[in-house]
Symmetry: none
């Protein structure tokens, strides 16, 4: 792999970047996106605001990184279990084990709002968050079709929306808990519903 063509001048401080991410994570978890100011964040990170903005173009982009990093860390990468039911469980169960302990509902809602308003951020959001979560599901469904486990004509996107949508719905509206039992029941209903 080619070495990065080392630019001149003082190199960026990896330590600063990490401090910013740590501070952002802590503050976002505790207060949510809107209640966190960039001044406060820079203070907590022991960093100047200019340094934050040198690395991230906006508060939203930073929050998205926090989300992606944190989520990425919790995910035991989905396995090919041989059955669609097993694959879906291996995808969804890690989420519901972690999500309740991290109040990211508020952050996700705020980023969704921003994605609706800001086309540039929307592209980032789709790529870094939506597709990142959806692709394993798409893969599992494709494999199931290949195996003849589900009809070839099944609308994979709809199946994902039913399952992911239910989880996001409870996460965002908070009207009920989300746990393994519920995830399993949801998977059962949907798989039964799409069987021949």
């Amino acid at each position: 792999m080619a070495k990065a063509p080392r630019r001149r001048g003082r190199p960026r401080s990896e330590k600063a970047q990490q401090a910013i991410l740590d501070a952002a994570t802590a503050l976002l978890i505790e207060h949510g996106l809107d209640a966190v100011s960039m001044d406060e964040l820079a203070d907590l990170a022991g960093v100047s605001k200019a340094t934050v903005y040198r690395w991230w173009p906006s508060k939203h982009a930073l929050a998205l990184d926090v989300l992606a990093v944190d989520w990425g860390a919790i995910r035991p990468p989905p396995r090919d279990t041989g059955t669609l039911r097993g694959d879906l469980r291996s995808i969804l169960r890690p989420w519901v084990k972690v999500l309740p302990s991290r109040p990211y509902g508020a952050v996700i809602a705020a980023l969704l709002a921003e994605a609706h308003m800001n086309p540039e951020f929307r592209a980032l959001w789709r790529a870094r968050f939506v597709d990142e979560r959806r692709d394993p599901g798409r893969l599992a469904l494709a494999r199931a079709k290949e195996r003849g486990e589900i009809p070839t004509g099944t609308d994979a996107e709809l199946v994902l929306d039913l399952l992911y949508g239910a989880i996001y719905h409870r996460l965002l509206h908070g009207h009920g808990p989300m746990n393994e039992r519920i995830v399993n029941a949801a998977i059962d209903i949907v798989l039964t519903g799409i069987a021949d």
Copy 2:
């Protein structure tokens, strides 16, 4: 019914209330919640900011009213069609006919974020928005159980989360369209999935 005991003092201006709601509706549709300032809103309504704040404690509460009024207006109240499939269609199809033409995704996302941060607003949100939409679905499922159309043990809340969640998911993430065909397909999958 007893006549309202007419309070003393100048009565509140219904015209002003309506002007505020109208202006808020127009601005929310056009710009989204965060991009609407209260000054701008009051200006457009031909009303003073103090008057807005006299009747709504915050921009969020006002937006919630806008949403409730607008959504309430579009709804041909769900009918008892005799079958669960018919009932669910009569509930969900009006939504998907109207939602795409009103970019409320951004507004709902912003209100969700606020509901996560602000306990008072959360209570309001649950009562005025979440339950208001869910209750017809709960009723339809209860009737279906009485008729023996679905097993008594069916988890009604989960069924609603699967259906509503799918719709909200597409509305909020915007990764795919939501239309009658999709709603019908979703209903079919879920009803098949919960049949004996």
Copy 3:
């Protein structure tokens, strides 16, 4: 004495007027003009704001009345004592006995500021406050000229400005006390200064 030609409708409440003046006096003494709001004042007087504005066109006009009434009450009307020194003392000494106990400096300063900005109020201020205080002094000086006590060419207005100005100066700037001894000394200096 002819009875006032009783107008139709509910007669004005003299009690209300007095309550307003009393409340205004109390609040002005305690807080000064700018720190008193008309809502607060009406509340304390047990009166509606509309009633206040029916009798006084503005807060400043009301404050001017308070000042005039209060000042008028304290004044034993200046007597013709036979000498200019005696006349001036009988005019000025009542002021310095009462002024220190009533912190009207702030009120007078605020009204002066308003008089500078508002021509209508300026006329009121000149008539009700400035001339009301100056006229007795003018009279005393005119009598002294008639008696040959001071030269006919004496600039009476300047003499008054020296004496009144000194008192107002200490009242407004608060850099030193004002008492009978000082008033007497001031009168002595000025009378010596204008003697032949």
Copy 4:
């Protein structure tokens, strides 16, 4: 003299400070203190309101600076002329030459009102305005006593109140003009009055 130890961070913009003072001077002269809004002022100065409040705690403090700077600029510093009459003239005549052309009466009245209400501002006012003007007069009187020109027992403060008070009186109440002739006459009366 030690070099100022250059603080870290972006240095304050002297240009902005000057623009604020210039704008404040212009607006105060044109409209008076109460009729000038901080928004308007910041706009005219081409500066944000936050910057104004960063350096001046209130509109009053800013107006005091304007007054001090403007007054300081007009003053040919009082000279030691050898006689008390000459000294007092050299102090007072510059004022009356400039004051009529600058409608600071309203501003001074407003600041007086504030000084009566606000202890912190009162201290500022005394130091920056009252004593600043009085000290040259005190000095002149002290010199005159040393020279034996006036009795040692003369109450210097009262003398200053008679002279300064007369000028402020006309400036504030506006019932008569103030010019060199009047100032000279006032000085003559008082000096005659305090002679042995």
